[in-house]
Amino acid sequence: MYSEILGSIDGIAIFPVLSLVVFVVFFSAMLMWTSRLDARRLARLSRLPLEESTRDTDS
């Protein structure tokens, strides 16, 4: 089916290669970035749902 339908499109072979490259680059970059995040900051961020604004008891 590949050759039957898509063979006529110029440069079609680049698509699978492009997919792989995009994928590998994206994940390498993301994993490098997340591994370098500051642990203390992450600990603070993870507590955000638990540190909500205080109720205004006066009103």
């Binding site: 339908i5 995040l37 507590r47 749902p49 604004s53």
Partner: protein, 743 residues
């Protein structure tokens, strides 16, 4: 957590305290809608489940026939029940995570009432057969436009709130909410491109293979970005809240987010394995589906491990019970999904009830479980009281959990049983169950068990609503929850940030939700583009088979009746290149046979047999008898009768417009043919009717049934007129499944 940074931050903050109110009224509105539409969705589902056991149930009302109610059920479950529930989660948690009221009360109201109006309009159109037939996108074009407008209203309100937040960092839940808004908007608009014929009728811009690819790119990612990402946001907020401890790993949640939104969008073609879709696209769908296990399970593990040290509380707290069962079911579904996208497994499970079991595990346990957990969490809090009865909540929990098991397990058994029967050969090489009905009759008891499971789940939901109602009655509703929070300081001035020097660009990104949303769009657009562009490049005439011709006017009308009655819900039109299928149905389907199909009608479920090669298989009289009383030709059939099509006069008033519209979409009707169409329609109808009359069947040419028979008799016949060529084997060519991938 009393670190020096936090103390410093607190000192800085004291000077600028804002007092404001959370809008709980909008949360309550969405909660009421969730409960109400949930029950509607469950009851419609139960009705159609019972119809498969008792085909004559309510059979005298066309509007309540199986084919028309099925899309009503799926739309009600997805967009009415789960949709309203996700808005409950977003409106409740977003305000608290942003420490800000919703951006605009007016937009909130517009969003709420607009969404309910869309649901009502779905309920008023689908039973009347007003449908595009594309799964989970059945609503016609005026409603599609309304959906786009209301969705943008939601998006403006969401982003506006994020922009006005009093907490610099956007917690990971908000990322999931932003990705939901962006991607659903993109999916909805691309998949809904259609050309109107009249106020409530349109044809898809795409045809055949392209339409199928776009539809399942949409269908798969609607599951991803409507049923999954918002609920992951909800999971990341409500599990820490309910367990009163932070998420297990925030780092993992970041990886989870980016990996999930990037990978999900590529996996759509796994809905089209073994179809006429290009092989490279099928393989791409499979590979990315398998990779999806990693982020999905990362998310599940992150959710469940958040409960470390708090598992004892799961025994007592109904909120945690529903969250745990929900997240576990998410893990099961997201393992099952990739497995089903392996071609050999897919060949077994596709078109069967296995898929129905799979989706209900996700919908009832994951979406349903998290939705009810949210309701049990929020209602007592906004009413300033405790849950009316923990015992009733436990009864609900067990009814729901057992109901899901009684639903899913019979469906798994039914799916595998039927599929194995479909492909079983005798030693002589003939199909052991050559009559499709033999495989249906075998699984009807499973359909009955499924209905019992659905009843248990619905009964549990009713108990929950009673419990929540009594809870509300016990307390006082706090529509405006007055709170205080420090104002947001200009970026870069905080003590905390000065101490955490790394990754400034990342913080900058988080501080700007618009840019963050744009990056999200890029992430999802990459997969979408790589999947879509090559197929879009195929000019519709490239794979054309010379003998494939456009439909006649009468066949167009018949096809529209096929769409109106929702036949596609039970009958596929896609013979896969598998020996068991070519043996049963005839030659496998070719991409070139669908180039004039606006929309495609490949279907996704075979409650009845495939119809792509049904044309010419039986005489007109067989269809005439079968449609009026299916059991007369097929004893034991569970197909409903379509008696109204014998009385109703065919409405062909739009045939001219239909021809013009289809020509605009690329179907090669000659110029001016629209003026001749009505006459051609009459001639063909008269020919079919006179044939029926001569066989002793009482009908007239202007009845709907005649048009439907014309369409059914045309199906899959064009290719038979084609001269023999290399890729068209004889109808019974035993193509080995292993070879199918290498064509």
């Amino acid at each position: 957590m009393s670190t020096p940074f936090l103390q410093a931050e607190a000192r800085e903050a004291n000077a600028n305290i804002d007092t404001f109110a959370y809008d709980n009224a909008i949360v309550r509105k969405f909660m009421v809608a969730t409960a109400l539409w949930g029950i509607v969705a469950f009851l419609v589902g139960l009705t159609i489940a019972l119809k498969l056991v008792f085909p004559n149930l309510l059979a005298f009302i066309p509007q309540l026939s199986y084919g028309r109610l099925r899309p009503l059920h799926t739309n009600a479950a997805i967009f009415a029940f789960v949709g309203n529930a996700l808005f409950v989660g977003v409106y409740y948690s977003l305000q608290r995570l942003c420490k800000a009221r919703m951006f605009s009360d007016r937009l909130s109201a517009l969003h709420f009432w607009g969404w309910q109006l869309i649901i009502v309009s779905a309920a008023l159109t689908l039973p009347f057969g007003i449908t595009t037939s594309k799964e989970y996108a059945e609503l016609e074009w005026p409603i599609d436009i309304a959906i786009a407008l209301v969705w943008v209203t939601f998006g403006v309100n969401l982003i506006g709130t994020v922009l006005r937040r009093r907490e610099r960092h956007m917690y990971v839940s908000i990322w999931f909410y932003l990705a939901t808004f962006i991607t659903v908007a993109l999916l909805h608009i691309v998949n809904s491109l259609e050309l109107p014929v009249s106020f409530l009728k349109s044809y898809s811009m795409y045809a055949g293979v392209q339409d199928a690819l776009v539809q399942w790119w949409y269908g798969h990612n609607a599951v991803a970005f409507f049923l999954t990402t918002p609920f992951l946001g909800i999971m990341y907020y409500f599990i820490p809240k309910a367990a009163n401890r932070p998420v297990f790993s925030y780092r993992l949640s970041i990886v989870h987010f980016w990996a999930l939104i990037f990978l999900y969008i590529w996996a759509g073609p796994h809905h089209l394995l073994y179809t006429a879709l290009p092989d490279w696209a099928q393989s791409l769908g499979t590979v990315f589906s398998i990779m999806l296990i990693a982020p999905s399970w990362g998310g599940m593990v992150n959710g469940l491990l958040t409960l470390r040290g708090a598992w004892d509380r799961v025994r007592e707290d109904p909120v945690l019970k529903f969250l745990v069962v929900g997240v576990t079911a998410y893990g099961m579904s997201t393992f099952e999904g990739p497995m089903m996208s392996l071609k050999n497994v897919n060949a077994l499970t596709h078109y069967t009830d296995y898929v129905i079991g799979h989706v209900h595990l996700g919908a009832l346990a994951w979406n349903g479980g998290l939705s009810f957990a949210m309701l049990y969490y929020i209602v007592p809090r906004v009413y300033g009281t405790k849950l009316f009865s923990v015992r009733l909540a436990n009864i609900h929990f067990w009814a729901a959990t057992l109901g899901i098991l009684f639903y899913a397990i019979p469906m798994y058994i039914a799916g595998i049983t039927q599929s194995l029967m479909w492909r079983e050969f005798t030693p002589d090489g003939a199909l052991r169950y050559g009559n499709f009905l033999e495989t249906v009759v075998r699984i009807v008891p499973m359909y009955a068990l499924r209905a019992a499971g659905g009843t248990m789940f619905t009964a549990g939901a009713l108990v929950a609503i009673y419990n929540l109602y009594r809870t509300a009655r016990m307390g006082t509703f706090e529509a405006e929850e007055i709170v205080q929070a420090p104002r947001l300081r200009p970026a870069g001035s905080g003590a905390t940030e000065r101490h955490e020097g790394t990754s400034a660009w990342h913080r900058a990104l988080e501080a700007r939700p618009a840019q963050f949303a744009a990056l999200t769009l890029v992430a999802v657009a990459i997969g979408g583009a790589i999947e879509y562009v090559p197929t879009a490049l195929i000019r519709s005439n490239v794979p054309t088979i010379a003998s494939v011709k456009p439909y006649t006017p009468l066949e167009i009308e018949g096809r529209d009746l096929y769409i109106r009655e929702g036949c596609v819900g039970c009958h596929s039109q896609m013979v896969r290149p598998i020996r068991a299928e070519t043996e049963r149905y005839g030659e496998y389907s070719k991409a070139g046979e669908f180039v004039y199909d606006h929309p495609f009608l490949w279907g996704s479920k075979r409650t009845g047999p495939d119809l792509h090669r049904v044309g010419g298989k039986y005489p007109d009289s067989w269809h005439f008898l079968h449609m009026r009383q299916p059991t007369s030709t097929s004893p034991g059939s569970i197909m409903p009768a379509y008696t109204w099509m014998y009385d109703a006069r065919l409405d062909d008033s739009h045939i001219e417009g239909k021809i013009i519209t289809l020509r605009r979409l690329g179907v090669p009707y000659p110029a001016g043919y629209e003026r001749q169409a009505a006459a051609d329609l009459g001639t063909q109808a008269a020919r079919i009717a006179s044939g029926l009359k001569s066989g002793g069947f009482d009908t007239s040419a202007d009845r709907e049934i005649v048009a439907l028979i014309a369409y059914l008799q045309r199906l899959g016949t064009d290719i038979k007129a084609r001269p023999a060529s290399a890729d068209a084997g004889p109808p019974s060519a035993p193509l080995a499944m292993a070879n199918a991938g290498g064509r």
